[in-house]
């Protein structure tokens, strides 16, 4: 308790120590982790073009960003603008901290909604308002060992659910024999909430997880439960490992053939190239195998302005600056974060690269998670239940019943706010 408290106190002290030089307008900008470290040169370029504005950039580690934002909100210490993982927008919207940007977008000649992937743009909209501008985007694709897939006679990546299951089976057998120890066709998280995988499988089967304006659980529906069943099949048949340590050493595991496929995001292209360079040319990425559709999550970060900011106009200028295709491209080249503005993709380093092109196709099919602040709790609960089935503590139907009642309990507050007209949009 004391430890948690002192951490909060420390966070508070750090937050309250922002300097303020000169008579320039100061825009306080929080950026997270690697992006925060790499955005510096662009920010300085912006300052040179706009001598009247000083940007006070603060880099915040991803791991503490979420807690810090909400404690800063509670302590009235939020900055003017911020990079926000787009799944956090509903939470900060629920506390009414975000500035709607619609009028700024309407009069802007730099930011045009048609220039963005629609699924990504949607993650920033709640009700009829837009609260963030996509900065970089992210979704999930299939990473696979091309050489091993060829060896088992599949000369293209799995394109649908049946082929994925088949590929996992063949690769499991092949790699186990080759390495003379138990290996697996695919890595999938045992507790999918860590990587949000279960919902894509539900979506791909036209499931929705939630229904009635995200006020009730829908996991008992046949589409949802069939998707869970499909996911669990990989574990039941021994095609996916139950030991989670495959994640800490995913690159090694992938290189040694301990796992031959996994579902992940764009940062792993660069990671694989650098960490296991000897594997180059023997792996590739492909859009996710589809069932009824190819949905995956619309991830990434957006830039938002906080409601209490006194320099909204200047902050918006910085957002417009960071959204220019030229600057988006420069940012891509230092971070490998995929650009949110579509015209940036025309550059040869992007669409000319088959690895990256797979993401473009997948992004066109991306969808936002349900935009409710309870989502993290919902997905956490689902993950816990799924994990109990993997470890054979429950049957799938028991787990689905448990999930259903847990999710409905979590959403009770939301229903009450709705019913009594307290929810603002």
């Amino acid at each position: 308790m004391i430890r948690i408290f002192s951490l909060l106190l420390l966070a508070f002290l750090i937050v309250s120590c922002s300097a303020s030089p000169g008579a320039k307008k100061i825009v306080r900008f929080w950026a997270m982790g690697f992006e925060g470290e790499e955005v510096g040169p662009l920010v300085r370029q912006f300052e040179r073009q706009n001598p009247g504005i000083h940007v006070d950039l603060q880099v915040i580690p991803w791991t503490s960003a979420h807690d810090k934002l909400l404690t800063a909100f509670a302590g009235n210490a939020l900055p003017d603008m911020c990079q926000l993982g787009n799944t956090w927008i509903p939470e900060l919207h629920a506390v009414n901290a975000l500035q709607p940007l619609d009028s700024l977008i309407d009069s802007s000649n730099g930011v045009n909604p048609d220039e963005y992937f629609s699924g990504i743009w949607e993650t920033n909209r709640i009700g009829n308002r837009t609260y963030g501008i996509p900065w970089y985007v992210d979704t999930r694709v299939l990473f696979y060992r091309k050489d091993m897939l060829n060896a088992v006679g599949m000369h293209h990546p799995p394109e649908n659910w049946n082929q994925l299951l088949e590929a996992a089976k063949l690769l499991t057998d092949y790699s186990t024999k080759l390495n003379n120890r138990k290996c697996y066709g695919i890595y999938l998280p045992v507790n999918p909430s860590f990587e949000f995988d279960e919902i894509f499988f539900a979506w791909q089967n036209d499931g929705t997880i939630l229904k009635d304006d995200d006020c009730y659980s829908n996991v008992t529906s046949s589409n949802d439960s069939a998707a869970f069943d499909y996911y669990l099949n990989f574990f039941k048949r021994g095609y996916a490992p139950t030991e989670s340590n495959a994640t800490t050493n995913l690159y090694q595991a992938f290189a040694s053939g301990f796992v031959c496929m996994f579902i992940s995001g764009p940062w792993n292209i660069d990671q694989l190239r650098n960490r296991v360079p000897y594997l180059n040319g023997r792996w590739a990425v492909a859009p996710l195998p589809m069932n009824k559709n190819r949905a995956a999550n619309a991830g990434g970060s957006s830039l938002v302005i906080f409601r209490d900011s006194k320099v909204k106009k200047e902050a918006w200028k910085l957002i417009e600056f960071l959204s220019r295709p030229k600057n988006q491209l420069q940012f891509y080249k230092t971070t490998y974060d995929l650009p949110a503005v579509k015209s940036t993709w025309k550059d040869s380093t992007l669409l000319g690269n088959p690895m990256v092109a797979a993401f473009y196709e997948q992004l066109e099919a991306a969808r936002p998670f349900p935009r409710i602040p309870e989502w993290e709790q919902v997905t956490g609960k689902m993950g816990e239940w799924i994990e109990t089935v993997v470890w054979e503590r429950n049957t799938l139907s028991q787990a689905i019943r448990g999930m259903d009642s847990d999710i409905n309990r979590i959403l009770e507050k939301r229903r009450w706010l709705r019913r009594t007209g307290r929810m603002f949009e």
Binding site: M1, D67, A74, E243, S244, N245, Q377
Partner: protein, 308 residues
């Protein structure tokens, strides 16, 4: 009487004299700080535990509802809470005696005249206590690694097949306990060492003359003479271990299948990840009650043992 007269007050000496006010002035700063940073938050948290305070209430206080004892009732019917309770007690019941035993052994050995390089060993045993928990738990994560880990490597010499320590629901808690014992026994050992040094040498000499062997001397002199130290150490370890948090938070995240989820970790998740502050507050008060009851029982048992 004298004092009242010297105050010279007209209202029967009820007003504070300068002399009686002085001590209050001295304790005022810490009293004020304690009230602001301890008493008030505790009272607020207690009230909060009877509401459904959550992220919506952060925006508008009127979105929090008074729910009576519902948080406590939900806690009672939440299987995860009982799982966390079980895990915490598992950790306590195995970990605490083990820590005290290892600490006592180390202290007795270090106190022995036969051991050389005492200060080096003392520093070595105490080093894990002052090492940053986050850093050493990362190191231990590597030690426990199923493919490249040191532990599996060492065990392979005695023919033990490799285990996936941290991602196996059965082994994860023992692995956490082993780590916690290593991390914490140094502190307890130091207190035991201090306790050992207060035992008069004459007692041992007398016993030796009467023909007591080393084991008899240990059981009949060292152990009873250390009783007050043991009480202190037990209470401190009990309170500390019931608040198990950082070890599973960093090493396992409470998994696999919640096999290392502790009460405090559950509270942290509910409070700071899901913003269910009301529910988290009710967990905090249940934990406080458990610690209070256990400490009372502990004091009672030790008190009776001493009286007997």
């Amino acid at each position: 009487m004298d004092r009242r007269k010297s105050a010279g007050s007209a209202v029967g000496g009820k007003r504070l004299s300068a002399r009686t006010a002085v001590p209050y002035l001295f304790i005022a700063p810490s009293l004020v700080l304690l009230t602001i940073f301890f008493a008030i938050p505790v009272v607020i948290a207690f009230l909060m535990s009877f509401t459904d305070f959550d992220i919506y209430s952060l925006a508008n206080l009127s979105f929090a509802r008074f729910v009576g004892f519902r948080n406590y009732a939900n806690l009672y019917s939440d299987p995860l809470f009982w799982k966390a309770m079980f895990n915490t007690f598992y950790f306590l019941v195995v970990g605490a005696p083990l820590t005290i035993l290892v600490a006592l052994t180390a202290a007795v050995l270090l106190n022995s005249k036969l051991v050389r390089f005492k200060s080096v060993l003392r520093v070595g045993y105490f080093a894990p206590v002052v090492a940053t928990l986050v850093a050493v738990s990362v190191v231990w994560k590597y030690i426990y690694d199923p493919h490249f880990g040191l532990l599996n490597y060492v065990l392979s010499f005695i023919g033990v097949s490799p285990h996936d320590w941290l991602s196996n629901p059965f082994w994860a808690m023992p692995a956490i306990i082993l780590f916690a014992v290593w991390k914490n026994f140094g502190y307890t050992m130091m207190i035991f060492l201090a306790g050992l040094q207060t035992i008069p040498e004459a007692l041992y000499e007398a016993a030796e003359i009467d023909g007591a062997g080393p084991f008899q001397r240990f059981w009949k002199i060292t152990v009873p003479m250390l009783a007050p130290t043991t009480l202190f150490v037990t209470v401190v370890t009990l309170i500390g271990y019931l608040q198990l948090f950082a070890e599973p938070y960093i090493m396992t995240g409470g998994g696999p299948v919640d096999s290392t989820l502790s009460i405090v970790l559950m509270m942290y998740r509910q409070g700071f990840r899901y913003w269910q502050m009301g529910y988290a507050a009710s967990i905090a008060f249940v934990l406080a009650a458990v610690i209070f009851i256990l400490t009372m029982i502990e004091m009672k048992i030790q008190g009776e043992a001493r009286a007997a």
